[in-house]
């Protein structure tokens, strides 16, 4: 019973946290891109315009959710939910801080620690493409259809590379649990260099590129390329249903940044000191600081790069990312083998 209450409380907190983060993310993106472009961005709602997202969200909720005539109604209604749910579920396995001990009981700062965490994450992130493909197809309109076909083409080109990029991480840390991966990065080299997985640089690069494609963000935002196919899969969505897609996109952005931090930047690891409470809080701060640094990378790229064509994305995924990942896996395999068993001639 106690376990159940703890899990329920954690779930509610995780849920609330995600939505708060999205409010900040959308605002931050608009402000940062605005500053990159000699503009101010939203400044009116709340201090520095931070309530702008809330205002936009409220507006969307009170707008009429139109259902066009020629849609496949059930799929059309289900698609936004299918987009949001996997996005929320991914966050359940992300550890956002060091485990804390209250009254002799240890509580982990993640809703649940799956021992197949990496596989779970990959599975959930692949689910998102169903929502996009179904939304585009069920809309009964041409631009959304093109968008959903593109999303399928995009998915098969980067998803494999993304999984392959994580294989060296798993081999290196010897676990597929996210908490375990973070724990494994707690050591230091030479006493001061943190032993983060960023040493697996090719994996990191491939993962980040695949991540941009996964979240449908520039330069891989071809699924919803406004200048080409109007809005892509969400052209026919309005009101709250559109808000759900929007929410899912930004939750995914945060999730992917958080996962990058977990896999390559040591998660919540960092120097801890001071009284117990500070020792609880500091890792959480480290985690969010690192995550927002990755988010900034997302925003920066969006403000800089043009969009790829989807055939270019496919050839990039198949001809560059996958061969690089495979070669790197072999190298990493040899390195891990040497580390564990020593040199073959020794």
């Amino acid at each position: 019973m106690e376990d159940f209450i703890v899990a329920a409380v954690k779930t509610v907190i995780a849920f609330a946290l995600l939505f708060t983060v999205v409010l900040i993310l959308v605002w931050a993106e608009r402000r940062i891109v605005a500053f990159m472009q000699n503009r101010l961005g939203p400044t009116r709602a709340g201090p520095l315009g931070i309530l702008q997202t809330l205002a936009d969200g409220l507006k969307l909720i009170f707008k009429e959710s139109m259902t066009p005539d020629r849609v496949e109604v059930w799929l059309y209604l289900a698609a936004p939910i299918m987009a949001l749910v996997p996005a929320l579920l991914i966050f359940l396995v992300v550890p956002i801080g060091a485990p804390i001990t209250i009254g002799g009981t240890e509580y982990t700062l993640q809703v649940t620690d799956l021992n197949v965490g990496v596989l779970y994450v990959l599975a959930m992130s692949s689910m998102a493409v169903y929502a996009i493909a179904l939304a585009g197809w069920s809309s009964g309109s041409k631009y959304p259809l093109i968008g959903s076909v593109r999303s399928a083409a995009q998915m098969i080109s980067y998803e494999a590379a993304m999984g392959l990029a994580l294989v060296p991480v798993i081999m290196f840390n010897g676990t597929t649990s996210l908490a375990g991966i973070v724990e494994a990065q707690g050591a230091t080299y030479f006493g001061f260099l943190p032993a983060w997985n960023i040493v697996l640089l090719p994996s990191f690069v491939v993962f980040v590129i695949a991540m941009f494609a996964e979240t449908n963000r520039a330069p891989f935002d071809l699924v919803e390329a406004e200048q080409e196919i109007v809005g892509g899969f969400h052209t026919e969505y309005s009101g709250f249903r559109f808000a759900l897609f929007f929410l899912a996109e930004y939750i995914n952005l945060f999730n992917m940044s958080a996962l990058t931090v977990v896999f390559f930047f040591g998660g919540w690891q960092g120097p801890v000191f001071g009284p117990t409470v500070v020792q609880w809080i500091l890792p959480v701060i480290y985690f969010f600081a690192k995550t927002f640094a990755i988010v900034f990378l997302f925003i920066w790229v969006r403000g800089t790069l043009p969009r790829l064509r989807y055939d270019q994305l496919m050839s990039f995924g198949w001809k560059r990312l996958i061969p690089v990942s495979l070669a790197w896996i072999i190298l990493a395999m040899i390195a891990v083998g040497i580390r564990r068993f020593g040199l073959p001639w020794a």
Binding site: A225, V230, R302, G303, T304, L305
Partner: protein, 477 residues
């Protein structure tokens, strides 16, 4: 207005009109003048007339290796007469109407596209959504009012429109324009070319997904528009260049304003080139996309940067100079492949060359009057009206009836940022044109769209369309 004028076809008594000979053409015989229309594909052996056609010879832009994509697309002649292709099943094609309400069709162009997957097999541009009958309106406005009308056609280069109209009216009037007015005209139109190309690079960047480019382009353009506002009172639709000269002299301290604007543009160009030139995604998106061969460009009447990017060495400022532009040194950049990337390079270089012209004008601006002394054409100075009865009468006649233009017809073309902007004016005597036809560069560009777009995929169609810089006000008029 009911009777036909003398010069309409079939009337045997039509007066024989001498073709207008411009100052720069004197000394050129007919053969030489025709040569200016000849083409030279950059990269092939340079004919000797090329060297004489620009100051330093026609420039070839950044040579690069032959792009296989270029070779594939070059020479793919398009069946825009909608022949059936038997290899494809009819059911597997879908028709999509891009526009007139679409984020990337630059106004209200409608592209009727037949898609096979995402590949565009046929494309048919449909125009007319912005048609406001400006050519007809011109017949109801006096020559004095006419430039308020034409300035609204190509709203990104209003001064070029005004210049073209003024020149064609002046051709029939036979008035002489003082050198200062001519220099002001060249200054303003070249600045306008810079502003127009800046807005082009902004929207082009946006259409291929580089969102920041849009703001950057507009930011630098703002400096030029601020100068325009100071000189003409308005940011667009200036009505500044008028038959007989310009509306007002340049304000005091204009040299510093222009230099400041040029500095801002120069800094901006460096920014764009940092952002785009070496960017592999940008190169992938533009090289080998939307090719037009020089032959096709000529066949479809495409002019300006589009034709020059294809290697057609034709710039009206060199071939048929106007307003004394021949006294300034500048080069005409030529592309080699006729693809989207070459159009980008050509336009960026044209900005630089226009800045070169403006800098020369800054040094050589002649003193004198900013409009002709002919008081039948331009109103007398305000204080003369109090002193002279003649001046009062002229003033009254100009603003009530307008000045009269002798019967005849004339064609005048200027190099607008989009290409050859020509106006054909038929006057019957009286103070209003009998007919004004405008040959707009965007119109010819839009009709060449199918050549460039067939067998591309949708993102390339957008990139190609953006690279052509059509202004729908210019197409539909």
């Amino acid at each position: 207005m009911s009777e036909t004028p003398h010069n309409v076809e079939g009337d045997t008594e039509a007066p024989v009109l001498e073709p207008p000979i411009q100052a720069a053409d004197e000394g050129l015989d007919a053969v030489e003048r025709r040569r200016a229309h000849d083409i030279w594909v950059a990269g092939t052996e340079e004919p000797d007339w090329v060297a004489g056609s620009t100051d330093e010879g026609a420039q070839e832009l950044l040579p690069r290796d032959i792009d296989p994509a270029v070779e594939v697309q070059r020479g793919l002649v398009v069946d825009d007469d909608y022949l059936e292709e038997p290899t494809v099943i009819e059911d597997e094609r879908q028709i999509i109407n891009m526009g007139p309400q679409h984020p990337a069709t630059h106004g209200v162009l409608r592209l009727h596209m037949e898609l096979e997957g995402e590949t565009v097999r046929r494309v048919k541009p449909i125009i007319g959504y912005l048609h406001t009958g400006m050519e007809k309106t011109a017949e109801t406005l006096s020559y004095m009012q006419g430039s308020t009308n034409v300035t609204r056609m190509d709203y990104l280069s209003p001064l070029n429109n005004e210049l073209c109209y003024s020149l064609v009216v002046e051709q029939l009037l036979g008035v002489e324009i003082p050198p200062r007015a001519q220099a002001i005209r060249v200054l303003m139109t070249e600045l306008n070319r810079i502003a127009s190309h800046l807005i082009w690079v902004a929207t082009f960047g946006m259409d291929i997904g580089a969102l920041s480019m849009m703001i950057y382009g507009f930011r630098e353009r703002e400096a030029i528009l601020a100068f325009f506002e100071k000189v003409t009172g308005l940011r667009m639709n200036h009505n500044y260049i008028r038959p007989g000269g310009v509306a007002a002299d340049l304000p005091a301290g204009w040299e510093e304003d222009v230099e400041e604007a040029l500095d801002i543009v120069r800094a901006g160009l460096t920014d764009y080139e940092d952002l785009l030139n070496g960017n592999p995604i940008f190169l992938d998106r533009t090289q080998g996309v939307g090719i037009i061969t020089p032959e096709e460009a000529q066949a479809y009447g495409a002019t300006g940067p589009i034709a020059r990017a294809a290697g057609v060495n034709f710039d009206l400022r060199k071939a048929f100079p106007y307003s004394g532009i021949e006294q300034y040194e500048f080069d005409v950049p030529l592309g080699k492949y006729g693809d989207t990337h070459d159009r980008y390079l050509v336009r960026m270089e044209e900005i630089r060359q226009s800045m070169r012209i403006v800098e020369q004008i800054l040094e050589t601006m002649p003193p004198g009057d900013y409009r002709t002394e002919d008081r039948k054409v331009t109103p007398p100075p305000r204080k003369r009206i109090d002193e002279s009865m003649e001046a009062l009468i002229h003033h009254f006649k100009i603003f009530s009836e307008g000045f009269k233009v002798p019967p005849g017809e004339a064609y005048q073309a200027v190099e607008s940022p989009r290409g050859e902007l020509g106006m054909y004016l038929v006057a019957k005597g009286g103070s209003k044109p009998w007919r004004l036809h405008v040959r707009t560069p965007s119109f010819a560009t839009v009709q060449a769209l199918p050549v460039m777009m067939t067998d591309l995929i949708i993102p390339d169609v957008i990139a190609t369309l953006a690279s052509l810089d059509p202004v729908l006000g210019d197409v539909d008029r």
